[in-house]
Subunit: 350 residues, 2 copies
Amino acid sequence: MKPVTARCDSVWSVATIRELARLCGVSPATVSRAFNNPAVVNAKTREQVLRTARQIGYLPNESARTLATKKSFMVGLVWDTDHRRPGWRHPFFQDILIGLKTALSERGYHLLMLATSGEQSDDAYVRAARRHNLDGVVMIDSGTWDPSLRRLAASGVPCVSLDRPVRGDRATYVTSDNVGGARLAVRHLHEQGRRAIATISGPAHTRPGAERLQGYRDELSRLGLPHRPDFVVEGDFYVAGGHAAMRRLLEADERPDAVFVAGDEMAVGALRAIGEAGLKVPEDIAVVGFDDIEVAALVPPGLTTVAQDKAGFGTAAAEAVVSMIDGAAAPPPRILPTTLIVRGSSTPPL
Amino acid sequence: MKPVTARCDSVWSVATIRELARLCGVSPATVSRAFNNPAVVNAKTREQVLRTARQIGYLPNESARTLATKKSFMVGLVWDTDHRRPGWRHPFFQDILIGLKTALSERGYHLLMLATSGEQSDDAYVRAARRHNLDGVVMIDSGTWDPSLRRLAASGVPCVSLDRPVRGDRATYVTSDNVGGARLAVRHLHEQGRRAIATISGPAHTRPGAERLQGYRDELSRLGLPHRPDFVVEGDFYVAGGHAAMRRLLEADERPDAVFVAGDEMAVGALRAIGEAGLKVPEDIAVVGFDDIEVAALVPPGLTTVAQDKAGFGTAAAEAVVSMIDGAAAPPPRILPTTLIVRGSSTPPL
DNA sequence: CGGTTACATGAAACCGGTTACAGCGAGATG
DNA sequence: CATCTCGCTGTAACCGGTTTCATGTAACCG
């Protein structure tokens, strides 16, 4: 009893499994089993082991455990700190992170950050994943389905990508229903009585950019509205690009009475351009964005937008990667539903 | 030669140090030294070891290394996913994260995410830190200098907190010059000819809230302006709180001609309240915020604000934690400078 | 030329867990 | 009573590195 109490003071006792075993009068193997395979150990013994462990504040050493089992219970999060341009930041990185972290915690996994910054070699994260025995990897807005990632997946490490269509034996991806979301937006504008509906698209080479444009076109067709090439301007997903694109739209012969902007940042730029032209939103031109970033609710008159299930990205990615870690085949791509959030930019003020 | 080539195909060869040693005709000890203590090993031998390692794609197993050395080269990032209210998000979490990650990478450290979500016990992150042999911990917007963290620091694990004044043998913190920033704001408003300067403060129990209010008062005194109790309204750092606080200010007998708002989110709410009252910014009331969040530049007429060195938080935290890991005593608190960013909300349009 | 020294390396223990395998006692069965 | 089973536990090897200590060799020096 004395020694136990003595140890207890030192909250930071880094007791080993052998020490705990000695205190309990059993072998290290039994202690290990008491924790990892409770069924095979006598109930009395197990109870005593757990109690003593609590008393002395025993915590297993994860490094030793990983070394022995080759399972680290860690997944890597690969994200570009300087993606397309310096200062680039994913529109809702934090929401994804919270969703991912929460879902992983519930399943007993930790998250190791692996940024792919410029200075390092491309597959620095691949080496890190190997060195740390990562059980899986999630890529957020990774540039491309690059050879590094492909090698990683091919070598058996489960990979989940966000918004990039990667597929393989051990790889899948999560994305939003961009086509459906764009169609929601256009349908909404049509329901508001708008007929001359233009769009500011994202870069054609990006997946979401292409899909949202596709949705815009699909819905236009379904509604029987004409396709006007001068009503389609490509932006860059940034405020400045949206601003420039809107100006071009306003220079056209016939002015649109509504515009679907494929990203909220661009939509903010578009709103500004419309204001500068002396026109009013939504009276002269209705605007619908995409993403539902924080700013959307704050910029007057409130930006109607297509919301993505931001935390859902993280949750879905976590589920996918864990299921593959547990041995399941790569699940099919997960397409998250989108919802329309109506604010002032598309509906007349009361 | 043959076996080496053969191994090379299998990109995922998980070669061990003994295998590499065998290929080089040396002992594992020498290989280890070639990597970790190059000086003591013959240049020729080292060269051959490194070359062979590259050929077979050898990567040391970090778990084994950590087990042996008790150094994991990982620091934990503790952050509240559900701090004061669900959905709460740090205003520039991502910028801090980028700064932190970058600075840590440069020094050879990785970042392990340790969220303190509600369901878990308070010191879950302490246990995680111990289990994973974390070399240090950074806390972002941690609730308080709580017993768990204190125990962690007392046990010798270096801790760095952001915006919370924690001090100890192995603990320090990083914060912005809130007082100085607030003074900048008030001085600027004074220079613009404003004399009836009110403030919407942050919650008094928060460190930044209290300090920014202090700075407001200090500068008022220095300028010889009167202290009017009805010109000080406490907000909550959120849009709604800023909105409500501004309405109270507008109800006062005498209307302020300027208001220093201790947070940009609140400032957005204040702008809205001013607009709803039929007043114009900056003509009737000038507004200066604090933080320089993304929205500040986007909301018309552009919010003048006191910018914090967001990435600097991360960098400073990384430097502090690494220096402590390297054995140095806890460095003094780091107070990051703030700068005034002038936009339309405080200066008359041209 | 004997002795000291510096340098480079190897053998083996160790870090703290897990797990295959063997062993042991008690109860069941022939 | 001999044997078999079952349930529980211990022994020892192993995971893949690091590090102490001893050793062998070459250079250096009086």
